[in-house]
Amino acid sequence: MLQQAETHEEILNKLRKIVGNEWVSDFPEELLLYSYDMTEHPPSNPDFIVMPKSVEEIIEVVKLANEYKIPIVPFVTGNNIGGLTIPLKGGIVLDLKRMDRILHLNEDDMYIIIEPGVTFGHLKKFLKDTNFRYNYPNAPPFASVMANALLSGLNNLSLRYGCMSEVINGIEVVLPTGELVKIGTCMCWDKHWWGRGPQPDLLGLFINWQGMTGIVTKMALQVWPKKPFRDWKFILSNDLAKTYEIVRKLARSDIMNDILLMSVETIKMVLGIPYGQAVHLEGEPHWATTLDFSANTKKEYEAKWEFIKDTFKELKEVDPKAVLSSVQGAAKMYGQKFAEFTNLPFTIGSMLEYGGCTWVGTYMTTNIDTIVKGVKIAFDIIEKHGFEKCLYTRMMKGGHYFAFRFLLRFSKEEEEEVERMRKLNKELFENLYELGAFPYKTPAWAAEEIIKRCDPNWVNLMHKIKKTLDPNGIFNPGRWGVE
C-alpha cells in the first residue's frame, strides 16, 4: 500500500466525491480482479478502482493523484496480452468502460469518434446498418477499440492500412498535469476530425506510451466503405519459404484485405483441441494461410480470384500437396469456429480456458530468409520449453512490414509452468530481437531489455518527454524503464 491508513481514507473520500460512492472501490476482492491479467506477468494490486463517467471527472481524479503523488493506470478491459494495465506501483486503476459512447460517424470524411470504453462488439453493431466497415482483431468482442489503436494492434485490414495507430485521425487527451488537449485537425474545429496534418503531429506523444503520457478521452478513427463482394480462401501447405514467398507476392499485389499465415497448431487451437494436444502430427500439412479479399464488381472479384489462383500455382510447383479452398467450404466441415475467421472479432474459448495466454508479438522485416530463420529458431525454443507451436503471422501495410507472433496458452495454476513461460518469452525476445523483431504492446520486462540495447539518445529523449509531461511521474509508472 502506498499510503498510511489515514491518507488512504482521505483519498478514498475525495475520489467518492468526484465520481460518486458506487464508482470507487478499495475492496480487496475487487482490487484483486485488477491486479492480474491472462499473461504470465506477476500480479500487483492497485489501491483504488475508479470508474469515471466524464472527462471532467477524469481531470479531477488526475489533479487529486498529483496532489497525493499516487499512480494512475488507465484500463478498459485489460485484454492487451502485455500485462500493460497491471498497476506495477499500485495507485488508482482508472477503469474507463463507463465512457462507452460512439459520438459521431462522419460519412463525408469516413471516420468515427469514440470514447475509450467502446468495444469492438459495440462498434460492429453500430456499423452494421451503415455503409462503412472498421478493422477488427482476432480478439474478443469486449476488447477496447481505442486501446487497440493506441497500442498499435493489428487487425483484419492491417494489410491495407497498417497497424491501428496509423488510422487515428485525432484525439482528445487529459495530460498528467490535468490539462485537456486536442491533437489533430480537431484542435482548430470541434466538427473536423479528418486528419493529423499538416500541423506538427503530436500524436506520437501518446501512441504506444501505454498511458504514461495521457489518458485519451476521445479518438477519431478512419472507417472504410463496405464492398459488395468479399471472399475468404485458405491454403494448406508444407513448404514455408515458398508459402511465405507467395504470401508476400499477394501482399504486394495490392488486391488483398488480409493475409494470415499460421502453423497448423494454431488452427487446431482455434478449433478447440485441448491444451497440450495442438501439436503437429506426422504427415500433416505444416502451414495454413487465409486470404481475404473484396471487390466493387463481380468482374473485379473474378480478376482478383484469377490472380490468387495463378499465384497459388507457383506454390503448387514446389509443394505439390498444397491445396487451395474456401474458408466457407472448410467451415462446412469444421463448423462455426472456423467460420469465425471471417466474422471478427471473436473469442477463442480454447485459448483462454486454462487461465493463461501470452505472446511475444513482434513487428519485423519481411525478408524471406529472416522469417524462415525466425520460425525455426522460435519453434526450437518453444519445443524446448514444452509448449505448443501456435504461430500466427500477418503481412502488414501492403507488405512493408510483418507481424510475427505466437499465441501461447498455459496453465496459470502451476507456478512452475508460469515460470517456464516467462523463461520462454525472454528467450524468444532475445533471439527474435537479434533478427530485427520489435515487440509491440511491449511488456515492461521487454522494454527494459530494449533500453539496454537501443540508441541511448532515444532513451534520453523519451525520459525528457516523460518528465516534461508528467513531472510527478504518476501516469502508469514502471513502464519503459521510467519509475
Partner: protein
C-alpha cells in the same frame, strides 16, 4: 468445458466435426450412421484415415486395421467436393476418387459423404 474425444489431426478433426454435427441435426442420418458396421479408409495424399463405424458409434483414427472399404482421393479433390465445385459422382466418374477395396459399399460411402458435406 466438454471433454473432447475426437481425433487431433487436421483432416480427422474436419470429418469428425462434420459427421458429429450432421448426426445431431438429422435423426435419419444418425440412424444410418449408427447402423453401419465397417472400417472405411480415406486415403488422402497427406495421410490415410480410418473411420471405424460400429454399432451406435464411430471413431476416427490414423491407425489402419482391417479395412472394409478403401477410398483414395487427393485432398484438393476432396476439398473441391466440400466447396461445392465438384461432386462425389463427378470425381468418381472422372477417376479422381477411386475405390481400392469394397466397391460394393459405393452407395453407403456416397451417402456418408454427400449428406455430411
Amino acid at each position: 468445458m466438454e471433454k473432447y474425444e475426437g481425433p487431433t489431426d487436421i483432416f480427422g478433426i474436419a470429418i469428425y466435426s462434420a459427421l458429429t454435427r450432421k448426426m445431431e441435426e438429422d435423426p435419419e442420418y444418425r440412424a444410418f450412421i449408427e447402423n453401419l458396421n465397417m472400417n472405411l479408409i480415406v486415403e488422402l495424399d497427406y495421410y490415410p484415415l480410418m473411420i471405424k463405424f460400429e454399432k451406435d458409434k464411430f471413431t476416427i483414427t490414423r491407425d489402419i486395421e482391417d479395412p472394409t472399404v478403401i477410398v483414395k482421393i487427393n485432398t484438393q479433390d476432396f476439398l473441391d467436393i466440400v466447396d461445392g465445385k465438384s461432386s462425389i459422382i463427378r470425381k468418381f466418374l472422372g477417376r479422381k476418387m477411386k475405390f481400392k477395396k469394397g466397391i460394393t459399399k459405393l452407395f453407403k460411402v456416397y451417402k456418408i459423404f454427400s449428406k455430411m458435406m
